[in-house]
């Protein structure tokens, strides 16, 4: 077991000090209270500002706790915000792949569909924003299971319901599949939730790399996969590009 990390201890002390102060504090005040060099405190503050835990007042140059810290307990990305940020890239993915696009987040042991773009063939399709999909049987769900500890914990002791002949119902097999998802950076499901349907999905990352959701396409197996039931690499590429574009927008501008 390694010892405590000094800079994290110091960062925690800075946060405690800011929290207990009634106004804002300057670098000098913080440094002398903690008995640290100004340069050290300044470096830690810069990182804390970057992650949003501390804010610097423009006029005085002094510091206070940041909004991100106040929302830490509820700091999941608002799903409506996620949709707003993703809408352009989800559209582009649907246009490029020719398939329907969904964005899912984890909710109560399921995948919550937070965004849905119709397949661009102008047939009548029903909006399914707000519906819940199974985690273990969909590509979106597998991405969440692979990267979101809460999602993984939610099904650890649950029975894996069978929807089709190919649904993965064995925990050990699912674990193997999820390892592969993490290795390759995307997930597929081929006739595991609905007969004749396949899906491909990739993770959407928010600030600091945290996975906040999954974006994916779904459609007929024969369009998404080759004769050996392997997902079309071009489509996988489109899905991953879209996931990266959304992630870039989330990371770059939210903080």
């Amino acid at each position: 077991m390694p010892g405590p990390v000094q800079s994290i201890e110091r960062a925690a002390a800075i946060l405690r000090l800011l929290a207990s102060s009634s106004g804002r504090l300057g670098v000098g005040e913080l440094a002398s209270s903690l008995g640290l060099a100004r340069g050290t405190v300044h470096g830690i503050l810069r990182t804390l500002v970057r992650v949003g835990f501390v804010e610097q007042d423009e006029a005085s140059g002094k510091y206070q706790l940041g909004a991100a810290l106040l929302h830490l307990g509820t700091s999941y990305l608002d799903v409506n915000e996620l949709r707003s940020r993703a809408i352009n890239w989800a559209d582009a993915l649907a246009a490029r792949s020719g398939e329907a696009v969904r964005i899912g987040t984890f909710l109560d042991g399921k995948v919550l569909v937070v965004h849905h773009v119709f397949r661009p063939d102008d047939t009548l399709q029903a909006m399914d924003v707000g519906t819940l999909l199974p985690l273990h049987a969909t590509a979106l769900g597998k991405v969440l299971l692979a990267y979101d500890a809460n999602a993984a914990a939610a099904i650890r002791d649950a029975e894996l319901e069978r929807y089709c002949r190919r649904t993965i119902t064995n925990h050990r097999e699912l674990a193997r599949v999820l390892t592969r998802v993490r290795d390759q950076g995307w997930a597929a499901s081929v006739e595991e939730a609905v007969q004749g349907e396949a899906g491909i999905a990739a993770p959407i990352r928010g600030y600091g790399g945290l996975v906040v959701g999954a974006i994916g396409i779904s459609g007929a197996v024969e369009r998404l996969c080759d004769a050996r039931r392997q997902p079309d690499p071009a489509l996988v590429g489109y899905v991953r590009d879209a996931a990266r574009a959304v992630s870039r927008d989330l990371g770059a501008s939210r903080w």
Binding site: D78, N88, A95, P120
Partner: protein, 503 residues
């Protein structure tokens, strides 16, 4: 040969966007920067034109870098812009004369009231298809000429140029003081109150009426033709289209046939119906405006229902009240309650536009009781957008004699599912969103691409349009009727708030 793209600039009220589109009309990269809103006095709204120009320089570079392409892969550039926003600048130094006066700015209200009483005021609506209101550019030019010492003389000597934002950007891109072209397009010119809607030329009597020297005006051109080549930022690229943002959205939604209608939800909301080759006069408070003109072809016209405040109300909820930290959270908050709890918000922040045109109205929140929570207020915010849409749709149905069967919606607010459902509910028609929500940008790209032959014709563009989402009405008709009646009562209560200034 490497793939070529069309670049589109959307110079909007709150931000400027640069988007690259490919041959199938698919979005390839986006770069965006917000600019500051200046509110020096109540009712005054200004933008710094130099800040906007600098933003443009940066986002063009960003968009190219994001797509990993070079300037020679850009087939053409098209510009869509916030309309009616008025800028004067010095022809010799290239410096703006003060800040741009934004379309929401109401400082000209006293001037407009005076002008309305002046002889010849009747000409305005007759020649331009627009009511004499603070919304449009001419009174702003006049206000600046009256208030900046010595400006009128300089303008008459041709030292001062007027333009809406597309003119400013084209002039700068094409060289600025060093040979920049000073042009505008028919759609933007149709919002000045200075252009004759039939001849598509500056109208001398209107110039005289508003006291605007002809020397300061840009040349009026079609919306899709090569105005010149860029000499800065993207040297050599053809600048090939300019449209007011709402006309661009109509074009991007491929509403090319009479009767086709779209509504764009951004800062404000704008419902436009293509009426074909003839201008249709409204008897119900709608505007008659130019939809677009392709070089060498007759202009297409549109009827427009303009709503001043839609997304801006959400912004106020966020920035003014601080009840949410991002605009999309309004949906999360609104979903914490079942209904509006009896509360209505009429966002007449700068008077009411279509179909009322009441510049003396101001915003009201009615139906407050101790039962009302911020959730109810959030719902009332979204409903305000929906009911205002209903009012302009009713006006449009009356004027056109057609019944709207489905609403094509676009703009930033279409990401809000609850809002889109409420719009479908109160209109009692389905609402559809196209696969490219950035229709303003797409329209400018389409026009530029047509002008340089990147796309062959309108029919080809139509085939790029796909439905991305559709919301169907699901509201009890009795509830709809009762709510609409309440909304109308709330609107009545916003009227007659600002007293005319004592002479």
């Amino acid at each position: 040969m490497s793939e070529r793209y069309v670049m589109s600039i959307d110079q909007g009220t709150t931000s400027t966007r640069c988007i690259l589109f490919d041959h199938r009309g698919r979005l390839v990269s986006v770069a965006q920067r917000e600019h500051r809103q200046h509110f020096p006095k109540p009712g005054w709204v200004e933008h710094d034109a130099l800040e906007i120009w600098r933003n443009l320089e940066r986002i063009i570079v960003d968009a190219l870098a994001q797509a990993g392409i070079t300037t020679d892969q850009v087939a053409a550039l098209g510009i869509a812009n916030q309309r009616e926003t008025t800028l004067l600048w010095d022809r010799v130094t290239g410096q703006p004369i003060g800040r741009a006066l934004v379309w929401q700015d109401t400082r000209t209200d006293t001037l407009v009231a005076e002008l309305a009483r002046a002889p010849g005021a009747g000409l305005v609506a007759e020649r331009t298809g627009l009511p004499l209101a603070t919304y449009f550019s001419a009174p702003r030019i006049r206000w600046l000429l009256d208030h900046v010492p010595g400006l009128r003389e300089r303008a008459e000597r041709g030292e001062v140029l007027f333009g809406t934002m597309e003119s400013w950007l084209i002039w700068n891109l094409s060289g600025g003081v060093d040979g920049g072209v000073h042009v505008t397009d028919v759609t933007n010119a149709s919002r000045t109150l200075l252009m004759n809607l039939t001849t598509l030329r500056w109208d001398e009597e209107l110039l005289k009426f508003f006291g605007v020297p002809a020397a300061m005006l840009p040349e009026i051109r079609s919306s899709a033709e090569v105005y010149g080549r860029a000499r800065r930022v993207i040297p050599g690229v053809r600048i090939a289209a300019a449209l007011g943002d709402q006309q661009a959205a109509l074009f991007g939604q491929t509403c090319y046939a009479p009767g086709e209608t779209k509504c764009t939800y951004g800062t404000g909301g704008f419902l436009l119906m293509n009426t074909g080759a003839e201008p249709v006069r409204s008897a119900n408070g709608l505007l008659t405006t130019v939809a677009y003109q392709i070089e060498g072809q007759p202009a297409a016209y549109a009827l427009e229902g303009s709503i001043a405040i839609t997304g801006a109300l959400v912004q106020w909820f966020r920035d003014g009240l601080g009840l949410i930290s991002t605009a999309p959270e309004i949906e999360t908050l609104a979903r914490t309650v079942e209904d509006n709890g009896g509360c209505y918000i009429v966002p007449a922040f700068s008077g009411l536009f279509a179909p009322h045109w009441r510049s003396e109205a101001r915003g009201v929140i009615v139906g407050l009781t101790s039962y009302i929570t911020k959730g109810h207020l959030a719902r009332a915010v979204l409903e305000a957008t929906a009911w205002q849409t209903r009012e302009v749709v009713d006006a449009m149905n009356h004027d056109s004699g057609l019944r709207l069967k489905e609403l094509k919606a676009d703009g930033g607010m279409t990401a809000d599912h609850l809002l889109m459902q409420i719009v479908a509910d109160v209109l009692n028609v389905p609402v559809v969103r196209p696969m490219v929500a950035e229709t303003v940008s797409l329209g400018a790209a389409y026009a530029a691409g047509l002008a340089v032959g990147y796309w062959a014709d309108l029919e080809g563009l139509r085939r790029n349009w796909h439905r991305a989402a559709r919301w169907v009405p699901a509201m009890d008709p009795a509830v709809r009727a009762a709510e609409y009646a309440n909304w109308k009562r709330a609107v009545q209560r916003s009227f007659d708030w600002i007293k005319p200034a004592e002479p």
